[in-house]
Symmetry: C2
Subunit: 205 residues, 2 copies
Amino acid sequence: MNVKKIPDIIIGRLPVYLRALQRMADNGAKTTSSQELGEHVGISAAQIRKDISQFGEFGKQGTGYSIQFLIDKLREILKVDRVWDVVLIGAGDLGHALANYNGFQNRGFRVVAIFDNDKNKVGQKIGEFTVEDTDTMLERIKSMGVKIAMTTVPASAAQEVADKLVQAGVRAILNYAPVSLNVPENVKVQYTDPSTNLQRMTYYL
Amino acid sequence: MNVKKIPDIIIGRLPVYLRALQRMADNGAKTTSSQELGEHVGISAAQIRKDISQFGEFGKQGTGYSIQFLIDKLREILKVDRVWDVVLIGAGDLGHALANYNGFQNRGFRVVAIFDNDKNKVGQKIGEFTVEDTDTMLERIKSMGVKIAMTTVPASAAQEVADKLVQAGVRAILNYAPVSLNVPENVKVQYTDPSTNLQRMTYYL
């Protein structure tokens, strides 16, 4: 595999390809084409071929891609051919939903701890987890060596939580709060919110 | 504005630009450059200029973009310069989180009704909403003329719910269930799940 710098915009599309390929595999398909994959994800076949070719020759002219081979390669590239521990901060409705979410399995992640600053929530059971106090978060995350966090705290608390996470060694934050986070350059943040997803469709209505 | 066909991949980036611009505006900024915007969203300045130029000349060489002007233009292009009614199917943890989410405000959306097929949940209050029976969903959505839905139902129920939504006239579905939906060509589906967001960051770890 090339070690040249791959543009972030291409890296961002790989998980989308991976999700579509995993669905195809779940439905029993064995091979696919950039054309077919493109229809699933709304990206042109040419763009998909270009993106994938950044990492090597994974398809054959005329016969297309072996779905399982491409899944394995993408998992390797994205480093989800292993299981990453993830901490969850915020035990509200969304925190509950994420704690109980069964879609982390086989995708490279598992939640290992949940924290909240609300003393009424600390000690509460959510599925197999017991909500822990954010006061203990820094030491706990450090000692577990966790690098990934999901934050579902209110907007007003998001930056303070992010600062603590960075201090604890977290290098990737999936932020559900509708605010920008200031983090050092070596820390990645992804934002997710339903409005942005919905706005992607209204253009067509 | 041009009426030429804009690639879907470009449309998909506009809500991300809009979110970043709205954050800049919230922080008091008045103007920005494709360079600065690019740093916020992880997309190259050249790509941003190219994307935005599809719709007209919105920036000035040397002085950059007026943030508010660009926000207004993007809202107009994405048709979120109005407020869309949205129905929510599934009153579980994630449904509660979405019903109580305050990030729809000023982004072009408002939830108008929540449905669930669990008779224990029907009649329950969630904030200002009363959970309605999915048995009445088809007629209710039709009579309200709602075109957008968010589904947080279990994977096993997602296709059946989608079929009903399409029948009721819904043309855009934000699907939180980890399954592909089969819908007619004139219906848009967006998928969102935390694993895909997390996978976008592990590459860098």
